[in-house]
């Protein structure tokens, strides 16, 4: 075991070093990126502005924006909801689908991965994803969250930007909210290699993949300087250049179609290939051992997803409301389409199908949540149920991988569908809200379906390839260090007793 811990430490260290090299390129000095800069660029950060005011050095300094209590309350609630999506929701959803001898191993992999990534997030993950660096990686301004609370004694808290000018939330709230996203994304991958991967290998893989795939993709898609940085038409190009690559392209991803679902789905599929099929696959029955738990998990996911999607508005306003109703509606549509299509083609509508349909709908509406209108939610929801049903049947057979719990068929397929259709149904002609085309005046518009679809497609492909390559390397490293796969006897006996020394059920 000592070897494993030493390795985890080493891998974490590697994660810290590599981006430093990449970070050297841009000439721009790192600033506190996610903090909302005030209307006059001279003030720099909110906290500096506060200090400046206290010193009365600059009589012209406007008062720093204060967070709205409603916004903060909603974001804290959302954060807790997203935590619930991993533990217990995702753990139960997955756990119910494996055989009873592997129940605890799945719960454990999800539980510990969640905690591991949360800790890493606060050490360097957040900084790497959400501070200014280059177009691919962030910097190290917030290592150990340094600077997020400049002076606790005086009650000085750094502020994070939202999507409205002059509206901020405490940065530590944003840190916690985003921590739950990073952690659940890694937990999602567990489903693909369930029932056969060593626990130590899971943890090593997670650290490497998180560092080199989750953090950069989150940076590329979501990092920007915030609306208040756009003070004047003259600074637009300069401010845009500091944002992440995919954000600069203009790709829309409200709550993580690319960052979370395609990212995790592809990493899962690569894992299924690299690890190989479970012993007895195709010959022995590998029926879910407890579908009531799977249903409970899916239902809790649905509830938690309101935090995930509506919380991604970062404010408790119209955008959150739109994301909320879309999350409601699209999910219900997907349950219906999956169930009825299954009924039609397979003869019987199954509970597992309905639960899977709900998750497919939730996945697909994720990038679209606040970016499409009601018509978009209907179409994306119905399409997701049907397409993901194919994802776990026809597509799965074509791929030939033992993706145990269909992480690719549901999350990557649903994520790609959602990411692409977001570009289409964002169109005001199709009931969508459009997008902000000019952050100086916050003017909305829409570039055209073809153009936006192409931008979305570029985002999808980039994420797909990036995650696939990083995942492959990460599995290979874990394999070299501790070996990926459990011994055949251990696999037959089940990972609960062989790897965790306990059994889920007695009697």
């Amino acid at each position: 075991m000592k070897r494993v811990f030493a390795l985890l430490a080493l891998v974490s260290a590697l994660g810290l070093i590599a981006p430093t090299v990449a970070q050297d390129k841009p000439a721009a000095p790192p600033t506190t990126a996610t903090e909302t800069t005030k209307a006059d660029a001279k003030a720099g950060t909110v906290t500096e502005a506060v200090k400046a005011e206290e010193k009365k050095a600059e009589a012209t300094a406007a008062p720093a924006p204060q967070p709205n209590k409603g916004d903060v309350a909603w974001m804290l609630t959302s954060t807790a909801l997203v935590l619930m999506m991993s533990i217990p929701a995702l753990a139960l959803f997955y756990g119910g689908m494996v055989r009873s001898k592997n129940m605890l191993s799945v719960l454990m992999q999800v539980f510990v991965t969640f905690s591991l990534i949360s800790v890493i997030w606060c050490i360097y993950g957040y900084s790497l994803a959400f501070t200014e660096g280059n177009a691919f990686f962030g910097g190290f301004d917030r290592l150990f969250l340094k600077g997020a609370i400049p002076d606790a004694l005086k009650g000085e808290y750094a502020m994070a930007a939202t999507f409205s000018k002059g509206v901020v939330i405490p940065e530590i709230v944003f840190v916690a909210f985003q921590a739950t996203f990073a952690a659940i994304t890694c937990c999602l991958i567990v489903g693909a290699f369930a029932e056969r991967m060593k626990f130590s290998a899971v943890l090593i893989f997670m650290v490497i993949w998180f560092t080199f795939s989750y953090a950069p993709i989150a940076h590329m898609v979501w990092f920007w300087m915030g609306p208040d940085a756009y003070t004047d038409p003259k600074v637009v190009d300069e401010v845009n250049a500091k944002a992440g690559l995919i954000w600069q392209w203009g790709a829309l991803d409200f709550a993580g179609g690319t960052v979370v679902h395609i990212n995790a789905g592809v990493a899962g599929l690569v894992g299924a290939y690299v690890l190989g099929k479970r012993v007895g696959w195709g010959r022995e029955a590998m029926s879910p051992h407890n579908l009531p738990l799977t249903m409970t998990g899916a239902a809790l996911l649905w509830v938690g997803w309101f935090g995930f999607n509506a919380g991604s508005a970062l404010e408790a306003g119209n955008s959150a409301a739109l994301a909320f109703i879309n999350t409601f509606l699209a999910t219900a549509c997907a349950v219906l389409s999956w169930s009825f299509l299954e009924w039609l083609f397979k003869g019987k509508p199954s509970m597992l199908g309905a639960a899977s349909g709900a998750v497919a709908g939730l996945v697909a509406i994720t990038p679209a949540a606040g970016n499409v209108g009601i018509p978009g939610a209907f179409v994306i929801g119905f399409a997701a149920g049907g397409l993901c049903l194919w994802g776990v049947n026809g597509l799965k057979r074509m791929l030939g991988a033992d993706d145990s719990l269909d992480v690719f068929g549901v999350h990557a397929v649903g994520g790609i569908l959602g990411a692409l259709l977001t570009g289409v149904f964002n169109s005001p002609d199709l009931g969508g809200p459009g997008l902000v085309v000019d952050w100086v005046t916050a003017k909305t518009g829409y570039p055209g379906i073809g153009e936006q679809l192409w931008i979305q497609f570029k985002g999808v492909i980039t994420t797909f390839v990036w995650s696939g390559v990083v995942a492959f390397i990460a599995y290979k490293i874990a394999d070299m260090v501790v070996g990926l796969r459990v011994a055949e006897e251990e696999e037959r006996e089940g990972l609960d007793t062989t790897y965790h020394g306990e059994a889920a059920y007695h009697g």
């Binding site: 029955a285 029926s287 879910p288 776990v392 799965k396 269909d406």
Partner: protein, 112 residues
């Protein structure tokens, strides 16, 4: 003495028990079992994976009885466990060599 073993549909257990106590059978032993006969199994579908379930759940009822009760017992089980559909089960009859009541040490028919 005879040992009567009946494989029946699980939901018929209560009726069989009542019928047997009704004719004076002093005790039975019940086990949940799995198996197949002419009814065969069924298929279960989990997303893309289809599994043929060969063994169906059944209940095995065992009763040790005196020779003269045999016809009555068989008739009681036949009637109470019958649904007329495939998979109603079977009754097996064995000769029983010896019975001993552990508490008192009684042997043979006395111990039944």
């Amino acid at each position: 003495m005879k040992l009567v073993t009946a494989i029946i549909k699980p939901f018929k257990l209560d009726e069989v028990r009542e019928a047997l106590s009704g004719i004076g059978v002093q005790g039975i032993t019940v086990t949940e079992v799995k198996g197949f006969g002419r009814q065969k199994g069924h298929t279960e579908l989990y997303r893309g994976a289809e599994y043929v379930v060969d063994f169906l759940p059944k209940v095995k009822v065992e009763a040790a009885i005196k020779n003269d009760m045999l016809e009555q017992v068989i008739e009681a089980i036949e009637k109470s466990a019958n649904t007329g559909k495939i998979g109603d089960g079977k009754i097996f009859v064995f000769d029983l060599e010896q019975v001993i009541r552990i508490r008192t040490g009684e042997v043979g028919a006395e111990a039944l």
